[in-house]
């Protein structure tokens, strides 16, 4: 068992740091339904951490707990060594956690650029007067944040559509714009909820490349949920496997693949 501050070296030779986010004995209930039962796991600096499991296993609920959208009834969440109190979702964003959604949650009425710029809103603090005359701090902030957004836009290769209204884009590009919006906030922890759902093979390859590049280039810690086992096993450094709200496996992809409980959950087990 690793200690909280020790790192480890991945199978492909990258060095992973200490714990960024730690979930301790999380239990989440909706009325009588227990979505998550007593789950403990951690996410370490610079790693790509996957959460997998069959439908209804509680993966999305888990991600919502990490992103602060749900507050668990029991258990503690530690972010960068400090216990996180029950925060409002917008306060969690200000701590440096960004996410994308399973069903795209872009702002359809705005252009791609404006959508990406919304990722910088927590950093824009110009006063009302300055904004209404578009002088001084407001203008300076606009230009500075635009530069950061343009870097992300270049990185994700969506320069040509930056002025296009999001509602006109095809699905695959929307997913990419959503990733751009999350990246624009320069998050310390990036949560991706099924980034490859509904994509064809080519789009999946593109998206996988972007996820690896983001991790490699910016050193962003990433936690993702994904159904495509091939993608998960290739991308992630460590995998949490959930089933019926419980954790049934945790480890590197090869460890998880050989875990009997995981095989039973995915392939079924005969009851005789």
């Amino acid at each position: 068992m690793l200690s909280n501050t020790d790192g480890y070296v991945t199978e492909d030779g990258r060095t992973i740091g200490g714990v960024v986010m730690e979930m301790k004995n999380i239990t989440l209930r909706f009325g009588g339904v227990t979505a998550i039962k007593d789950i403990t796991f951690d996410i370490r600096e610079g790693e790509i951490r996957a959460i997998i499991g069959p439908n209804g296993a509680g993966k999305s609920s888990m991600l919502n707990v990490v992103s602060g959208f749900y507050v668990p009834q029991e258990g503690e969440v530690f972010f960068r060594g400090e216990k996180r109190p029950a925060l409002k979702p917008f306060e969690v964003a200000r701590q440096g956690i960004a996410r994308t959604f399973q069903n795209i949650a872009l702002f359809e009425g705005m252009s791609v650029l404006d959508n990406v710029m919304t990722g910088r809103l927590t950093q824009m603090k110009a006063g009302f007067i300055s904004q209404s005359i578009w002088r001084g701090k407001a203008e300076k902030e606009e230009v500075e944040n635009r530069e950061i957004c343009e870097r992300v836009i270049d990185f994700l290769e969506i320069q040509s559509i930056r002025k296009t209204p999001v509602s006109r884009l095809p699905y695959g590009l929307k997913k990419r714009v959503e990733l751009a919006r999350a990246l624009a906030s320069e998050p310390k922890l990036l949560l991706l909820d099924e980034p490859m759902a509904g994509m064809n093979v080519e789009e999946k390859e593109d998206m996988s490349r972007f996820i690896l590049d983001v991790n490699d280039e910016f050193g962003t810690t990433i936690a993702l949920i994904e159904h495509d086992m091939g993608v998960v096993m290739d991308l992630s450094d460590r995998v949490v496997v959930m089933d019926y709200g419980k954790k049934i496996g945790d480890g590197t992809p090869s460890e998880v693949r050989n875990n009997q409980a995981v095989i039973d959950a995915y392939l079924g087990v005969s009851h005789d």
Partner: protein, 358 residues
């Protein structure tokens, strides 16, 4: 051919994020400003000012205000008439209490008072959305009109229950009361309109506008990326009500001169301004102007054609006018549900390629 951005490059982000990034647009905007400020004032007479220009300018401010709330922030409001009444009564109380203070200050303060009232009535928006919020703002409409009718303090205990705007001057020129010159009141309102439009545009293209639009398009996602829904919604209510209050203040003090609240600022007014932004285009400053122009000009035009042109009796024309306006609104919404602003955008896109669309 006529509308080209070829060869028009932005080399800085500052240039790219200006209101009119295309040179042609920018020059057209300056031309409109010059015509509005330097040419129209010399051509005006009483009829043009009272029938067309003043209502158009004042409704434009109200439409910009409501467009910020409904078009940009997505909070439907049916309380515009009530908020205009707040602006009108606030100016009236200020004008009569401090006669020596400038009208500009009174009108801005009236806007401030309306902003405060708007925030109060905007508080339910934190809990309810859509139709339910519309009904809650409807309550504001009825309550405010009732308040100004029933509490004599607001109309200074006058016997008629009306408020009358006393004569006030700016630089020695009367702008309210009975002895105003057409060009003076026109320019006075035009200054307010221009500043309102520029401020509204600056707010909506920057960080604040993005917060509003994020709330409008998907409030849950907006919250997850760090937008505080409380401040975003209430700031939209405050700024929107400020503009609506200013328009109410001008409507009473400069345009009408005398107001009976139930008649002038009733529910009809709320719907009229709402129709303006729906026809003009939600989420567009230009649309606010276009909608105000459409609904101010159309009745005047119809009246001129029917009564003056065809010689119909006035009462018949007045009734037909209602039917025609209603019919046109329905046709318009079927043909272009996103309003005149969208028509304008489509026309510009076509013109960019014309005459070689391939």
């Amino acid at each position: 051919m006529f509308y080209r951005e070829a060869g028009d490059f932005s080399t800085t982000y500052r240039e790219d994020s200006q209101t009119f990034p295309i040179k042609f647009d920018r020059y057209r905007y300056y031309a409109v400003l010059i015509i509005a400020f330097a040419i129209i004032p010399f051509l005006l007479n009483d009829y043009w000012v009272n029938a067309i220009f003043l209502p158009f300018l004042i409704y434009s401010i109200a439409a910009i205000g409501l467009n910020i709330l409904t078009g940009y922030c997505g909070q439907v409001s049916l309380g515009t008439g009530g908020f205009m009444a707040v602006g009108a009564y606030a100016t009236y109380k200020l004008m009569t209490a401090f006669p020596e203070v400038s009208m500009v200050v009174h009108i801005l303060l009236a806007g401030g008072v309306t902003a405060f009232v708007g925030v109060l009535f905007g508080l339910p928006s934190l809990r309810i959305k859509g139709f339910y919020l519309a009904v809650a703002t409807l309550a504001a409409q009825f309550f405010l009109v009732w308040l100004f009718n029933r509490v004599p303090w607001f109309y200074n205990y006058s016997a008629s229950g009306q408020i009358n705007s006393p004569e006030r001057t700016l630089f020695g020129i009367p702008i309210t009361g009975a002895n105003t010159e057409p060009w003076a009141v026109y320019l006075f309102c035009l200054v307010f309109v221009t500043i309102s439009a520029v401020v509204a545009r600056n707010l909506t293209r920057g960080a604040m506008g993005r917060k509003w639009m994020a709330i409008r398009d998907m409030d849950i996602a907006a919250e997850i990326i760090g937008v505080n829904p409380l401040t975003a919604k209430l700031s939209a209510f405050a700024i929107s009500s400020f503009f609506v209050g200013v328009s109410g203040a001008l409507f009473f003090s400069v345009y009408l001169g005398a107001v009976e609240v139930g008649e002038v600022f009733g529910i009809n007014k709320s719907f009229l301004v709402l129709f303006m932004i729906i026809i003009g285009g939600l989420g567009s400053i230009f649309g606010s102007f276009a909608g105000a122009a459409f609904l101010v000009l159309l009745p005047v035009l119809l009246k001129n054609v029917l009564v003056t042109g065809l010689g119909w009796p006035t009462d018949l024309a007045a009734h037909l006018e209602f039917m025609i306006v209603g019919f046109l609104i329905i046709v318009f919404l079927i043909v272009e549900p996103h309003g005149i602003a969208q028509l304008w955008r489509v026309a510009k896109e076509k013109l960019r390629l014309w005459p070689f669309p391939h």
